[in-house]
Symmetry: C2
């Protein structure tokens, strides 16, 4: 794409000014429609060093109310960010519904630097491209407008700009080592950029190459592409997208009705096992901290199945500095306004830490599905989106352990009644619990489908038979210990 | 994709039967909705030899009224088809709105055979992939549902099937040399197929790999993918899609208002030039016939600008066996029911022939745009779609000559009045001509935009100043002669 690129014909001054005026006004008008339609707009500005990425963003945002946009400048990842998966900080910076987010370079820049400085082999590059394509597709599939601009200047122009900036004391600091390195290795960079643009040029999130030789012309091109993109996106309400085939290796799982719930444990055996497993887990926690392995433990299960007590037995064995429990309720407004996986991406543990989720991203294919909080297309698509999410975590090196805490309908009724009738437990039972109980069969179907479709070999579900809570706790501890031993 | 593939878990017989029943009923119900919503559905069935492509199509169509579908079996291109561009026969077989079209292998098979038999180098393969991605994107962008299935069987299974077929006299003929070659070179084929699937796996037209070991299970997978795809497509009405950036090299063109229309030619000079140019063109026609160069001459221009007389002077110099004039009126119902470029794809000349179009595919960005026959998103997207179309023709080796026949508004009025007042010419003037004339300024803007956005270096517009028709005819002849001389 870049290699065939030819300098554009910049319009005459008069035409340029009148088109600029029109485009600026259009963006000003569109910002309210973007808000009304709850359209999230992500503008990724990539390009050569000194091409004027910051300047063009500065011009674009002049037309938008400051409450409606954010600007993120790509920096080297912090020590904290280096301990998160590659996409973590990029996913974290996606806009809310109805708002704009401008990225002064982002994931392209990050990958290109590593690639050009010889720190990324072909296989890793191919994996990154795959991650990026999935990430961008997940955004557009979920209603995001993703506008990708590449600001292009030729070698001589870049050289001129670098010299110009270096010549003056005040501007010297603006020339980075990377800018100079790019200019010295212009052809190599050009080829690498060209490959990247081709590899990630998708119909729903295409690349636009911008001739960045003149500031006003750059601004006009960016404005016209952005406003046209918004126009197209506003025309599409709740678009359905194809349900992709599963490409991940799956494990064979039983149906819930096939689970034998008669399993139980004697008190004495329970206490003994609990003690030794918790001790073993404590030791393993130290080792995974030193070896910097991140661990994600996800709990789902019926109301009153015993998730809380189960989590307590795991957490009780861990060093409090190295784990966190995330209770997941219905999303806050700022969470609801973003991709449904956003609140999980931003809660990921860093390497060496354990995150325990009490309810999870699987809400999408259970409560959101059954209560109509998302469209049919949304939840049908979510199995693959979730498998992709967990694949990212797995490739990053995370251990992922998913528990479904299983009881039967009668046991739930007993426990509900017990809660209702015991003054100290009444806070634990709500009208919603009773309403959910009425939909038991629908939930059972949804859970079966979820377990069948998301038990990948790298993140399979484990069923905890929890009519006897003691049995379930010991089984959970054993599985966690086993899974950690595999990687330590 | 294929290389990571693992055999699927075939459902138990009972589940299989009940899901088959449900999926068949669903498709039967959907066929009427497909018709009502005017959804065109293209199902491409690719896969290994003996995987059962024909069988699965046979099963699928049992659920559809015979008036609503067509089946095309891929054969080696005929001698006629070999003289058309690569995409010609594939474009020709796209379904009408509201109908199904099943392809028993298609463009994938064609490319893979050439590739595997060593008849296609890397560069040509890359160009084909690009063409195919554009072709499929043009279909989905224009509201087509494109379902791509790959029927997969393992080497041993294929071997078993081949032997089984060869063993019986009645079935021996069904094993092709290609089937046997594939089995002998299974790994090479697997790698090539895998690359192709990855290269053409687009979010809007994704690949689905089908485990084709068992017939019923194959049918069920295909049915479920197809019905789900239809469901998603039916949910989307008149979806707008991103306007892609121009990636083709452009020529700088004047605005219509900048054209000097005072050019004229003396009678004597006209007659002399006409004679010598026509003679020269006749000679060139013979040479391009022998060298098998296809030529496409496209005429657009104002009503009464003199297109007809101009075309007559070109055609008059040609051997009638080697050219065809296509007058383009508003589309017939069966043409309107397909992609707007379909009626031009199917009218392409074969190599060595000349096709002259009296009005063209540019109707999309003129009359269809101004009369609201297509959406804004449709015509805005069309510039790129047309540049892509002409790029295909250019890469095939065609000479493309596009004429805009230009007059001013006063001249048009004179000629209209002359037609109105001359009994023998009255058939040439209609109410519609007068109505179009009222929209002169809107048309002028549209024509300017068209000329700016579609004057690629490989297919630029030529303006014919036609206030003096003689001047315009000689200029057209000169351009045709020049362009042909360049390639002969």
């Amino acid at each position: 794409m870049l290699q065939q690129w030819k300098e554009t014909e910049k319009p005459q001054e008069e035409e340029l000014s009148s088109r600029l005026k029109a485009a600026r006004e259009k963006l000003q008008e569109q910002q309210m429609k973007v808000k009304e339609h709850k359209l999230p707009v992500l503008i990724l500005v990539e390009g050569w060093g000194t091409a004027g990425k910051g300047h063009v963003i500065g011009q674009l945002i002049k037309n938008i109310d400051p409450r409606f946009f954010k600007v993120f400048s790509m920096k080297d990842p912090s020590e904290e960010e280096k301990r998160k998966p590659f996409l973590y900080r990029h996913f974290a910076s996606i806009p809310e519904a109805g708002k704009f987010c401008f990225l002064d370079s982002g994931w392209m820049n990050e990958v290109m630097r590593a690639r050009l400085y010889g720190k990324m082999e072909d296989a890793e590059y191919a994996a990154r491209i795959e991650s990026i394509k999935r990430f961008e597709r997940q955004l557009t599939d979920n209603g995001y407008l993703v506008v990708k601009l590449f600001l292009h200047i030729e070698k001589k122009e870049q050289e001129k700009r670098i010299h110009h900036l270096l010549d003056a004391k005040d501007t010297r600091w603006r020339v980075s080592k990377n800018d100079q390195w790019q200019n010295e290795h212009y052809k190599t960079c050009l080829e690498a950029f060209d490959s990247y643009l081709k590899d990630t040029n998708m119909p729903q999130a295409p690349w636009y190459i911008i001739d960045a030789k003149s500031k006003k012309w750059t601004e006009l091109q960016a404005l016209e592409i952005l406003t046209e993109g918004i126009e197209v996106a506003l025309a599409n309400n709740a678009m359905a997208v194809p349900i992709l085939q599963n490409v991940f290796p799956m494990e064979k799982m039983p149906l819930l009705s096939e689970i034998d719930l008669d399993k139980s444990l004697e008190d004495a055996e329970y206490r003994e096992e609990l003690k030794s497993l918790q001790q073993r887990l404590g030791e393993l926690h130290n080792r995974l901290y030193r070896k910097k392995v991140p661990v994600i433990i996800a709990y789902e299960g019926w109301d009153a199945a015993g998730k809380g007590g189960n989590i307590k037995r795991i957490a009780g064995a861990l060093d409090p500095r190295g784990y966190e429990v995330h209770p997941i309720a219905s999303p806050e407004p700022h969470e609801k306004a973003r991709h449904y996986l956003w609140r999980f991406w931003t809660r990921l543990p860093k390497t060496g830490h354990i995150a325990i989720f009490d309810r999870t991203w699987y809400g999408r294919v259970m409560v959101e599905r059954l209560e109509g909080f998302c469209s049919e297309n949304d939840w049908k698509r979510a199995y693959n989106e979730i498998n992709e999410f967990e694949k990212e975590l797995h490739d990053w090196g995370a251990v992922i352990i998913k528990f479904w805490v299983q009881i039967d309908k009668d046991t739930q009724l007993e426990r509900f009644n017990d809660r209702q009738n015991t003054p100290g437990k009444q806070w634990k039972i709500t009208d919603e619990d009773w309403r959910n109980r009425e939909k038991w069969d629908l939930y059972e179907d949804a859970v079966n489908e979820m377990i069948q479709k998301t038990s990948t070999t790298y993140a399979p579900w484990h069923i905890l038979e929890s009519v006897d809570k003691k049995y379930a706790r010991i089984k959970a501890l054993k599985i966690v210990v086993e899974e950690l031993e595999k990687v330590l």
